[in-house]
Amino acid sequence: MAILIDENTRVLVQGATGSVGSFQTQIMQEYGTKIVAGVTPGKGGRKLHGILIYDLVEEAVQGQQVDAVISFVPARFAKDAAIEVIGSGIRLLVLTAEGIPEQDVLIVLRYAAIKGATVLGPDTPGVISPGKCKLGVHPHTMFMGGPVGIVSKSGSLSYEVGRVLTKNGVGQSTVVGIGGGPIWGLSQEAVLEMFEKDPETEVIVLLGEVGGRQEHDAARFISQYMNKPVIALIVGRTAPEGAQMGHAGAIIEGEEGTAASKIAALEKAGAMIAKSSLDIPELIKKIGA
């Protein structure tokens, strides 16, 4: 099981021949991800690590099943590329690009909603179901299979928590990076719902940060709909108002964006609060998962 991706997911890499795309394609393939095609306009007909490259997505999906796309297309061209993927009927798109103009993202997400596609990102490290499939850029040695589902805005924080858990012998079902914002396709709330339904996931770790109000929506969802235990770690407790803390979405504008208000809301909703990554294995032990 796991969520979003598993050992049967058939993957297309968009922007596969660029330096990052090519390097990451090889690593994903070595990890065991079933990569069935690559797309780069103008590079059709070539082969990369044994994968056939096409000029267009519509050519790549002809005569073969494609379940998911990971896009390494740069921000300036990301809208066109994303619409091409969604238009071809593929149901899951991972948008790694950082810095896509907000109005472009709105159009992509709206089109995805119309076509029933799921967009992860933008500015996401992707998603990994350890031991099964990796659709992203994670340092995968930090992860191993197990019962903990992780949803994180930050890529690096999910690596940090994955590493601490793995070191303590606690594996993960799926690790989802939703991206640095300020606009998100798949939300924390949507991922929590998937984990709640996933029989392999027993505990969920929610990794949030300052800025926006997603964590408040997540808190509402936890209190109303979730039976599985949730551990939350919200970073940026020391962030000053108005400063951009790395991510485009990590900026405190108003009370709801502060770490303190998010922590309070999550605690009230019944989530266990971790102060740092090191607390998380302890809390999981307490739950007895």
């Binding site: 109005q103 340092p139 930090m142 890529g155 999910s158 590493r163 970073v235 020391t238 803390m245 790395g246």
Partner: protein, 378 residues
């Protein structure tokens, strides 16, 4: 990018939206071009200026010089006032609130209007939210006439055609210039037509490449008005496009991810230390980025210890180590450096550091503890 009021109004006027006649004032001499009565408004990138007392109506020239001096010497919410607008007063019967923005909860553009425009709009939103009327604009179809007619009806606007014209112009600016927010508050409905008395516009920096000239001009204009002297670290970080936030403490911090950067700061804080800054290099950092970033963070004289917190995903640790080693070769090591390194290619990076006599740890808590202790000793 947040535009100053006079810049925002210029964008509106270029599109044919009425704004009061105004003169930009940076010294009392500029008053020669002003006719009285006039309204002086401080040009600072924050709201609540009316309540802060930096919007003043002047009836005649006599008192004007001293008022301008005083206003230019003042500070609003940490922003020194660098310039004023002197505007022709507009006779107002009705004040509307009109805004077009991206609602990030539902990922759609949103038109918001209210007949309770003016300085208390935030109170109105809190106490009587029903007085703020919202209309989502589906990006798949854009703004349609009926949506505007619906808002006009709710506001009991008589001249619907003029109102529709204004809304369509706002939506056009929003789209053409890649704005993320256009707010006119108040929009005056005086006897002779609609006038935007105040305007706030945010442009999307991520779309700057589509409007390079406009962004460059607006930025140059804002820089020219800036008197506050920046620290060397701030200057270097701006030049190198490095995400740097000064925090006032003595432990410098560099991270290769936003999330690990923030958790490192939180852990420093919890261990009783005081971070000097937040600094994140981003996922695509290479050796040269690392060198430049170290230059930025260490140009702050208050830094007693530097923490480098690395967890390689996209960033390669061999390249990070190369940058650190090169920086140490080129510069005298002024403060102790504590490094956390793990992830992609760390098996190559850690030996490179050790060879040049720098130790790297795998555990985040360890380096935080070492750094906080060292900062206290020094």
């Amino acid at each position: 990018m947040r535009l100053l009021e006079f810049q925002a109004k210029r964008l509106l006027a270029e599109k044919g939206i009425s704004v009061p006649k105004g003169v930009l004032i940076t010294s009392p001499e500029d008053l020669q071009r002003v006719s009285f009565p006039t309204v002086l408004k401080a040009q600072v990138p924050v709201g609540g200026r009316g309540k802060a007392g930096v919007i003043k109506r002047l009836e005649q020239a006599e008192e004007a010089s001293s008022v301008v001096y005083e206003m230019l010497a003042s500070t609003v919410k940490g922003h020194p006032v660098e310039a004023l607008m002197a505007e022709e007063p507009v006779e107002v019967c009705t004040q509307l609130y009109v805004a077009y923005l991206i609602d990030k909860q539902v990922n759609m553009p949103l038109l918001m209007v209210s007949s309770a425009g003016g300085i208390d709009i935030e109170e109105v939103a809190k106490r009587t939210p029903e007085r703020i009327i919202k209309k989502y604009i589906d990006p798949a179809v854009g703004v349609q006439d009926y949506a505007i007619r619906s808002l006009a009806k709710a506001l009991e606007i008589k001249d619907v055609r003029a109102f529709a014209d204004l809304i369509l112009k706002i939506c056009a600016i929003f789209q053409e210039k890649d704005a993320t927010l256009i707010e006119i508050n108040p929009l005056a409905l005086p006897p002779n037509g609609q006038v935007a008395l105040d305007a706030k516009i945010l442009l999307d920096d991520k779309a700057a490449y589509r409007h390079q000239e406009l962004f460059d001009d607006l930025e140059a204009e804002q820089k020219q008005l800036e008197r506050r002297t920046k620290s060397r670290a701030e200057e270097l970080s701006e030049k190198g496009q490095i995400n740097y936030v000064p925090l006032g403490g003595d432990i410098g911090m560099i991270a290769d991810g936003a999330g690990t950067g923030m958790i490192t700061l939180d852990m420093i804080h919890d261990a009783g230390g005081k971070p000097a800054n937040f600094c994140e290099m981003g996922g695509m950092a290479n050796a040269e980025n690392m060198q430049r970033t170290m230059e930025v963070v260490l140009s702050n004289d208050h830094v007693k210890v530097l923490i480098i917190s690395l967890i390689g995903g996209l960033t390669r640790m061999d390249e990070m180590a190369e940058g650190i080693v090169q920086y140490l070769k080129d510069n005298d090591q002024s403060v102790p450096i504590v490094i956390r390194m793990c992830g992609t290619k760390s098996e190559a990076g850690i030996p490179m550091l050790r060879e040049s006599g720098v130790d790297a740890y795998e555990d985040l808590a360890t380096i935080v503890q070492i750094a906080v202790e060292k900062a206290k000793e020094l």
